[in-house]
C-alpha cells in the first residue's frame, strides 16, 4: 500500500472490512436458515469461525482452574472406580466356577443357573420375598396415607405435632435396635404383650416362633417403624391443597367424608402415584429387617433372596452360585425399574419423576 492515498486508503480499508463483515453475516444468516431447513452445506462451526475468530479457540482441557477442579473431583472418581466399577465385571462369576486365588475360574455357562433353579430353598426364598412385597403393598403402603388423612382431620395443634414428632423417631433407629425392642416385648415368658394376653386370660403366644405369622408381624413392625416418616410427604401434599376447594365443597353440601373422597384424595393423587412408582426401585431389597428377626423356628418364611445370597455367598463361600442368585434378583429388579419408568410416563405429566 502506498502512503499517498492517505485518508482515502484508510477509508477504503474500513469500508472493505465493513462490507466483508456484513457479507459474512449474511452468509451466516443464510447458512443458519439452511440449517434450520435441514439442508446444511457449510458447517455451522466454520461460519461462526469466520465471524468471530475468538470463539474458534478450543476449550482447553488443562487450564489451571480445570486441574484444580479435576483434583477436587478425584476422591469421588477414585472411590467410584474402586468400589463401583471394579466389582461390576465380577458378575461373570455367575457363569463360572469360582476357584481360589491363583487358579483360573472355569467358564460353565448357564450351569449355575440350572443348579439354583433346581434348589427348593432358592424357590422358597424367592416366593417368601414376594410374600413380603405383597404384604408391604397391601398394608404398609396405604398406612402413611391413612395416618396423614387422620392427622389432617385432627383439630388440636399440639396433639398433632406430638404424634408427628414421636412417630418419626423409629425411622432413624437401626433395624437391630428395632428387632431387639420387639423381641423383648414379644417374648413369651417375660414380654409385655404376652403378659397382657395372660392377664386377659389367654394362652401366651410365642410370636417369633410362628412361621405363618412372621410376614404379617414383620409388616406390622415395618409400619410401626416407618409410618410417621412416610406420612410427612403426604402431610406436605395435604397442606398444599387449596382451602377454597373445601369451602366450595361445603357449600355444595358435602360432608367431611365426601370432602375427603372428592377433594383431599384427588389433591394428593399425584403424590401417591409418584411414591408408588418410586417404591418399585428397591422392591426386592430385604436384608436387614428379615435377617435381624431370623431364628431356626421361622426359617421357612424368614428367608428372602437377600439373606439367601448372604448365607450362600459369604457364610458358605459358594461365590458362583450366590452371584447367580444375585444376578437373577437384579434382572427382576431391573424389569421393575423399567416398569417404573413406563408407569411414571403413563401416570404423571410431571416430567421430573421420570428416571430417564
Amino acid at each position: 500500500m502506498q502512503k499517498k492515498h492517505g485518508i482515502y486508503h484508510i477509508f477504503h480499508v474500513k469500508l472493505f472490512k465493513i462490507t466483508c463483515y456484513y457479507f459474512k453475516c449474511e452468509v451466516i444468516v443464510f447458512e443458519r436458515k439452511k440449517i434450520h431447513r435441514g439442508e446444511s452445506i457449510m458447517n455451522i462451526k466454520n461460519a461462526t469461525a469466520i465471524s468471530n475468530p475468538k470463539k474458534v479457540k478450543k476449550k482447553k482441557l488443562f487450564t489451571k482452574n480445570n486441574i484444580i477442579l479435576y483434583i477436587m473431583f478425584l476422591p469421588v472418581l477414585i472411590s467410584y472406580i474402586i468400589f463401583h466399577i471394579v466389582p461390576m465385571p465380577g458378575i461373570y462369576l455367575a457363569f463360572a466356577d469360582f476357584r481360589v486365588m491363583g487358579f483360573k475360574d472355569i467358564w460353565v455357562g448357564l450351569d449355575n443357573f440350572k443348579y439354583i433353579f433346581n434348589l427348593s430353598n432358592f424357590w422358597d426364598s424367592f416366593w417368601n420375598t414376594w410374600v413380603f412385597v405383597l404384604y408391604n403393598y397391601i398394608f404398609a403402603f396405604p398406612a402413611p396415607i391413612l395416618l396423614a388423612l387422620l392427622l389432617n382431620e385432627l383439630k388440636g395443634k399440639y396433639f398433632k405435632k406430638t404424634i408427628q414428632t414421636i412417630s418419626c423417631l423409629p425411622h432413624f433407629l437401626s433395624w437391630v435396635v428395632i428387632a431387639s425392642i420387639w423381641i423383648s416385648i414379644l417374648s413369651p415368658s417375660t414380654g409385655y404383650v404376652n403378659f397382657v394376653i395372660k392377664a386377659l386370660g389367654g394362652e401366651p403366644i410365642y410370636f417369633l416362633s410362628k412361621a405363618d405369622l412372621f410376614p404379617a408381624l414383620l409388616t406390622f413392625i415395618r409400619i410401626w417403624k416407618d409410618v410417621g416418616y412416610n406420612a410427612i410427604v403426604y402431610l406436605a401434599a395435604l397442606s398444599s391443597i387449596d382451602q377454597e376447594l373445601y369451602e366450595a365443597a361445603h357449600i355444595d353440601g358435602a360432608g367431611r367424608f365426601k370432602q375427603t373422597i372428592y377433594v383431599t384424595l384427588p389433591g394428593i393423587k399425584s403424590t401417591i402415584l409418584v411414591l408408588f412408582v418410586l417404591s418399585f426401585s428397591g422392591i426386592l431389597n430385604l436384608f436387614d429387617p428379615v435377617y435381624v428377626f431370623q431364628n431356626p423356628m421361622i426359617a421357612s418364611t424368614a428367608e428372602t433372596l437377600d439373606t439367601y445370597i448372604y448365607k450362600q455367598g459369604v457364610v458358605q463361600a459358594r461365590y458362583s452360585m450366590a452371584t447367580a442368585v444375585g444376578l437373577f434378583k437384579s434382572v427382576i429388579s431391573f424389569v421393575f425399574v423399567i416398569l417404573t419408568n413406563v408407569l411414571s410416563k403413563y401416570f404423571t405429566e410431571d416430567r421430573e419423576t421420570i428416571l430417564w
Binding site: P87, L154, T190, V314
Partner: protein, 293 residues
C-alpha cells in the same frame, strides 16, 4: 363451619384412634427404658411402666465391660470419620460437577448415574473388599459408602442454584477455585451440607449389613453387630425356656435383658440428641429420594 353429629362422632373416634396409635408407638420404647432401670425381677410381671426398683446397675455393667462398650467406640469412630469424609468428598466432587464448562463433566455424571442403577452385586463387592485386605478393618465400613451419588446430585443442584455473581468478584480478584469453594460456596451451602451430614451420620451409626459382611473380629464390631449377637443369645435362651420351662434360668435371663435394654438405650442416645436438628431437615431428607439425576 357447623358440624353435624356424625362429624362430632368422627372427631372423637379420630382422637381415640390417634391416642391408641400414640400408645402403640411409645409403649415398646417405654418398656425398654423400664427394663434398663429395673433390677427387681418381679417388676417385669406387672403392667406398670415405672421401674419397681430403680437402679443404674445395668448401665454400670455396660460401661465397665470392655466387650460391651468397645462396639460403641467403634460405631462412634465410623460415624465421625465417615461423616466428615463423605461430606468433604461429596461436596468437593459436586462442586466440580456443577461447573458446566468443565470438559468431561457430563461423563462423570453418567458414571455416577450408571453406578446408581447397576452394581456388581454382593459377592463381587465382598471379594473386592477381601482382595483389598479390608476385611476386619473399620475402613471397610467407611470407604464404600463415602461417595454417594444421591448426595452428589443433591449438592450439585444446590450449587447450581447459587447465583454466579457471588463468586465472580472473587474470580476477578484472582482467587483459585479451591479458595472460592472453601471460602464462599461451602459456607453458603450450610443448609444442604448439614442435611447430608445428618442423614449420612445416621446411616453410618446404623451400619449393619456391611458390618456383618466384612467384620469378623469381635474387637472391631460396631454396636449393631454386638446387639445382634445378643439377640441371637436371647432367642436361644427363649427357646430353651419354651422347651424345658427352666425357671432357674429366668432370673439370669432377666439380668441379661437388663443389660441388653441398657445397650439399646445407650445406642439411641446419639440419635435422640440430633433428633431436634434432624426434624428441621425431614422434608429435605425425603426429597433426597424424589430428585432425579
Amino acid at each position: 363451619m357447623k358440624r353435624s353429629r356424625g362429624e362430632k362422632i368422627f372427631n372423637v373416634f379420630n382422637i381415640i384412634l390417634m391416642a391408641i396409635f400414640l400408645v402403640v408407638l411409645c409403649v415398646p420404647v417405654l418398656i425398654i427404658l423400664r427394663k434398663s432401670f429395673d433390677i427387681s425381677n418381679q417388676g417385669i410381671m406387672n403392667l406398670s411402666l415405672l421401674p419397681g426398683e430403680f437402679s443404674l446397675v445395668y448401665y454400670k455393667v455396660v460401661l465397665n465391660d470392655k466387650g460391651i462398650y468397645r462396639p460403641f467406640l467403634n460405631s462412634a469412630y465410623i460415624t465421625i470419620v465417615g461423616t466428615a469424609l463423605s461430606v468433604l468428598i461429596n461436596s468437593m466432587g459436586a462442586y466440580s460437577l456443577s461447573k458446566k464448562d468443565l470438559p468431561g463433566n457430563r461423563y462423570f455424571m453418567y458414571m455416577i448415574i450408571f453406578c446408581m442403577m447397576f452394581s456388581g452385586g454382593l459377592v463381587p463387592s465382598y471379594l473386592l473388599i477381601k482382595n483389598l485386605g479390608l476385611i476386619n478393618s473399620l475402613w471397610s465400613l467407611i470407604l464404600p459408602g463415602a461417595a454417594s451419588g444421591m448426595n452428589i446430585i443433591l449438592l450439585r443442584n444446590y450449587y447450581n442454584s447459587i447465583p454466579p455473581s457471588l463468586t465472580e468478584s472473587a474470580k476477578i480478584d484472582g482467587a483459585e477455585e479451591y479458595t472460592i469453594f472453601f471460602k464462599i460456596i461451602f459456607p453458603l451451602s450450610a443448609p444442604i451440607v448439614s442435611t447430608i451430614a445428618l442423614f449420612s451420620g445416621i446411616a453410618y451409626w446404623n451400619t449393619f449389613f456391611s458390618a456383618i459382611l466384612y467384620i469378623n473380629d469381635p474387637k472391631k464390631y460396631p454396636f449393631t453387630v454386638k446387639l445382634q449377637e445378643m439377640i441371637i443369645k436371647q432367642q436361644a435362651m427363649q427357646e430353651q425356656l419354651e422347651r424345658y420351662g427352666g425357671a432357674a434360668n429366668l432370673s439370669n435371663n432377666l439380668d441379661d435383658q437388663g443389660v441388653y435394654s441398657a445397650i439399646i438405650v445407650i445406642s439411641t442416645i446419639p440419635i435422640i440428641l440430633v433428633y431436634p436438628l434432624l426434624q428441621k431437615h425431614f422434608t429435605k431428607g425425603i426429597m433426597l429420594g424424589s430428585i432425579k439425576g
